[in-house]
């Protein structure tokens, strides 16, 4: 029954429901998403219902319920990116990959998320792929990148892009 990947409980001897969010965070960090199995285990541990846990977890956008894809794609829809055509980028992703925000392609290659701001508005419109920011994105360049991702080819990042990712992580 035991799931090998679930981190050991924070405190075994008391089933205090206030441990719920730290537990969810650890699972999200270690597994990349909150699976049905982990929810069942937390329910047993804390003696609260799975529905309740799901209710709490689904409130926060940091928790995901689908197994993440191999590559992570984020399109920014913040104000600056919106002005610079972020919506068109999002539509292109939907068209190309038949994905809506929060979903993963059926082959598990790419997961996709629309986000509010990635913190580099001066470079709008931006797209983030596997933690790397791609600046001043156009639909043509996005299609190219997506094709690269789909072929599982290693992504070559230009000089401007790597400097940006350093900026983003700083």
């Amino acid at each position: 029954m035991d799931h090998p990947n679930v981190p050991p409980p924070i405190q075994v001897d008391d089933c205090d429901p206030s441990h719920l969010i730290p537990l969810l965070q650890r699972i999200q960090q270690q597994e990349g998403y909150i699976s049905e199995q982990s929810v069942r285990q937390i329910a047993r541990l804390l003696k609260i219902s799975e529905n309740h846990i799901y209710g709490v977890a689904s409130f926060y956008s940091q928790f995901h319920f689908q197994k993440p894809g191999k590559h992570h794609l984020k399109v920014c829809l913040g104000t600056a990116c919106h002005v610079q055509g972020g919506v068109q980028l999002a539509q292109e992703v939907e068209k190309q990959l038949s994905l809506r925000s929060g979903e993963t392609t059926t082959d598990g290659a790419i997961d996709y998320e629309e986000v509010a701001c990635l913190g580099c508005c001066a470079q709008a419109a931006v797209v983030e792929i596997d933690g790397v920011i791609y600046a001043k994105m156009t639909t043509d360049r996005l299609v190219k990148k997506l094709n690269e991702l789909r072929l599982h080819e290693p992504l070559c990042s230009g000089a401007d892009e790597s400097s940006l990712s350093a900026l983003a992580s700083a």
């Binding site: 049905e36 929810v39 329910a43 047993r44 003696k47 609260i48 219902s49 799975e50 529905n51 309740h52 846990i53 799901y54 209710g55 689904s58 409130f59 319920f65």
Partner: protein
């Protein structure tokens, strides 16, 4: 309580510290509109309609979440509040279908009900099943919407969830008041409903979009009852609209005998609700959703019928009584038998045994309880004698549940366990499989089928401090037993015995072990019998060996009392408690609410009074029985407490309660002492024969258990709750479906 003074709408009032402004205002008769508030639920403050003005504050706080303060000056109505409330309603309505408010045909809706109902069922044109019952609709009419709405209509476009039994969910109509999820949390260990997502995508749902069955719902129907809009509605009465009558009766489907509030329309029961949802608790699915389906079963018998060749001839009651009188007149007393259901009312049971003893001069009257409980029947009676009300859980420090699964049936008990556990009581379960309580119990004991008694005696030994060595327990089981014993060390302890234990094949040893443990722990034992009136059948003496009052046939004092009251000698002592199994001897068998046994001789004349035609067994004369909702009657519950049920509707067709049928036949046979006009007159006679009947509590009044030396059959294993010889799944479609899901 400390008293404070505050002013509401200019009136200076004395209020109690700790109250909310809403509670205080309501107590003094002020009207403040609310949607998310529901009696006895924790305040939520989400609908914002109860906003009030506070003197000295620019804000308009919600009255339901604002505690009263000394010197507070509150205004409940002002042009500003009116405008704000109107605005809030408009915002709510921008996401809520509003045909019921704006339809130009609205005024004609009621008079054209018939046509509209038809189209509503087929096309859904009548906008909403809650039309006329919706709290939002009522508030819009009451508060009013001023001017045009500036908000575009936003349709959420959820598909209606119809996949689960008993109720439909249309979350397009949901206003997110949170009543359903709060009531669910209040009543159950496992919350089924929760808010999922957030912002404008918030909706009420379950984990991972599961169905209610998968999500652990017990279908107690509390959420449906509290829903202010048409988001949650019963499937059965979805388009029935407003009820035109009501009555309080009791649910005869199990021995808990919960009070039910029956809603009726045009002489039919359309809905069944708990009397006080958050006070006395909810109903289980049997009482909440099963009753309307059961009493309106499509196969209900309406007139007496006589078998003629392969067909049936309809009779009047006079003809039927004459045929019966003739058959019974020519039947020697030792060749007559009467089988009656143990879910039927005391009045019916009393008249049935009186009929057999006075008119037919035989003791051959019985229910099938002896067959059902087999060797363990004396132990079941023993437990019933000592049983007390579930109110014992209010003070219990530890509770042991033996063979009790409250997921669906008897879900009412779960609510009481939730309350006990919140109070700090320990919960220990003993069952053969994981079930709804095991998840939340402090200690779960899992026994192999047949090993439960071993676990119980191990617990008994542990009260002396030591687990006997050499017993077949694994290391884990031994430590689980140790922990369970520690949990049960607190006092007082209540042991609940569920139907899986009571009706198990080895119930005799199991129940003996329960009694031994109860003795060692000084615990109270409550058997949660599944038959609606087993206690009543014992008290009324509807067994070959029992006299009214539960006395043995050889109890001379009671014998004299009964003979004096009936002014007739009692027949000689009969000895066979399973007379209906003696094959060729029976010439006339009458069954009331029971199917006739299959192995009866061809020559026997079989009379059956039932709600529906028996699915098996041969019947010669078929009589329609009035449902419990169609007659007054009394029932005695698992704790020996009497409950009175009132008729909600007149009997269907020419159906009669059993006592009326028997009195009719007795009178046409010239017998005296059967001139009862109503159930109250029978109760008056019972009171004279059974001392203490009116007081209700019957704890020590079953003076005799049927001796354990009788060769009883092996009991049947309990798979389902049974009512009038059919499993509940035969009566209730949703339950049948749920059974297939298990």
């Amino acid at each position: 309580m400390t008293s404070l003074w505050m002013t509401i709408d200019g009136r200076v009032l004395e209020v109690e510290k700790g109250e909310t402004v809403l509670q205080a205002a309501r107590r003094y008769g002020f009207y403040i509109p609310t949607l998310c508030d529901y009696a006895h639920l924790t305040p939520h403050g989400s609908c914002r309609l109860c906003i009030v003005e506070l003197e000295g504050s620019p804000k308009t706080p919600a009255a339901c979440t604002t505690p009263v303060e000394d010197g507070m000056i509150v205004r409940t109505h002002s042009p500003r509040l009116q405008a704000l409330r109107s605005e809030i309603l408009r915002l709510l309505l921008s996401e809520h279908p509003i045909c019921c408010l704006v339809c130009p045909e609205q005024d004609h809706c009621d008079e054209c009900m018939i046509t509209l109902r038809k189209s509503g069922v087929t096309t859904g044109c009548r906008s909403c099943p809650k039309d006329g019952l919706c709290e939002l609709q009522e508030l819009v009419v009451r508060i009013g919407l001023e001017g045009q709405s500036p908000y575009p209509v936003y349709y959420r476009g959820y598909s209606v969830e119809k996949g689960d039994p008993f109720f439909d969910r249309d979350y397009n109509l949901c206003i997110l008041c949170g009543r359903c999820l709060r009531v669910c949390e209040e009543l159950h260990f496992a919350t089924t409903l929760t808010y999922v997502e957030r912002g404008n995508r918030t909706m009420v749902g379950t984990a991972f979009g599961r169905s209610h069955v998968e999500a652990g719902c017990s279908f107690c129907g509390a959420c449906v009852e509290v829903c202010p809009t048409g988001a949650l509605v019963e499937k059965y009465s979805k388009w029935d609209g407003r009820a035109d009558g009501e009555a309080t009766s009791i649910c005869p489907l199990c021995s808990l005998n919960c009070e039910v509030h029956l809603l009726t329309k045009k002489g039919q029961v359309i809905n069944s609700l708990p009397v006080d949802l958050l006070g006395k608790g909810p109903l289980c699915l049997a009482g909440r959703f099963g009753i309307p389906e059961l009493v309106n079963h499509p196969q209900r018998l309406k007139v007496p019928q006589l078998r003629e060749g392969t067909g049936w001839r309809q009779l009047t009651w006079e003809e039927a009584a004459q045929i019966l009188a003739q058959k019974l007149f020519n039947c020697p007393s030792e060749n007559f038998g009467l089988l009656i259901s143990d879910s039927i009312s005391n009045e019916d049971l009393y008249i049935a045994q009186k009929f057999a003893r006075v008119v037919m001069r035989t003791h051959q009257v019985s229910t099938l309880a002896a067959q059902r409980y087999g060797h363990g029947f004396p132990q079941v009676i023993e437990l019933l004698k000592q049983s007390v009300s579930l109110q014992a859980l209010d003070t219990a420090q530890a509770v042991l549940c033996v063979g009790l699964d409250t997921r669906y049936l008897q879900a009412v008990v779960e609510t009481k366990l939730v309350q006990a556990r919140r109070r700090g009581a320990k919960l220990v379960t003993l069952y053969t499989q994981a079930h709804n309580l095991s998840f939340f119990a402090d200690e779960e004991l899992l026994a192999e089928p047949g090993q439960e008694a071993g676990f119980l005696s191990a617990l008994t030994h542990l009260t002396q401090g030591k687990l006997p060595s050499g017993r077949a327990f694994s290391k884990e089981q031994r430590s689980a037993l140790q922990r369970a014993s520690k949990s049960l060390a607190a006092s007082p302890v209540v042991i609940l015995v569920g139907s899986a234990a009571l009706e198990s094949v080895k119930n005799k040893t199991l129940l003996q072990a329960v009694q031994a443990l109860a003795k060692a722990l000084h615990a109270i034992v409550v058997p949660l019998i599944s038959q609606g009136n087993l206690s009543g059948s014992l008290m009324m003496g509807a067994y070959p060996h029992l006299l009214p009052g539960g006395f043995g046939l050889d109890d001379e004092v009671q014998r004299q009392k009964v003979m004096g009251r009936w002014s007739t000698p009692l027949p000689a002592i009969s000895t066979d408690p399973l007379f209906w199994r003696q094959g060729g001897r029976l010439r006339v068998l009458m069954t009331i609410g029971e199917n006739p046994p299959k192995d009866l001789p061809e020559s026997a004349f079989v009379i059956t009074q039932h709600l529906i035609p028996p699915a098996e067994g041969r019947v010669d004369l078929l009589l329609p029985l009035a449902a419990f909702s169609e007659s007054n009657g009394s029932w005695i519950d698992y704790a020996g407490v009497m409950h009175i049920g009132h008729a909600a509707v007149p009997p269907l067709g020419e159906a009669l309660p059993a006592w009326q049928m028997l009195c009719k036949v007795a009178r046409s046979m010239g017998a005296r002492g059967f001139d009862f006009a109503n159930a109250e007159e029978i109760r008056a006679e019972i009171t004279r024969v059974v001392s203490g009947f009116w007081e209700g509590a019957t704890v020590d009044r079953f003076h005799l258990a049927i001796g354990s030396d009788h060769k009883l059959q092996q009991p049947l294993r309990a798979a389902d709750l049974e009512y009038l010889s059919y499993p509940l799944s035969y009566w209730v479609q949703g339950w049948q479906w749920l059974q297939t899901q298990r």
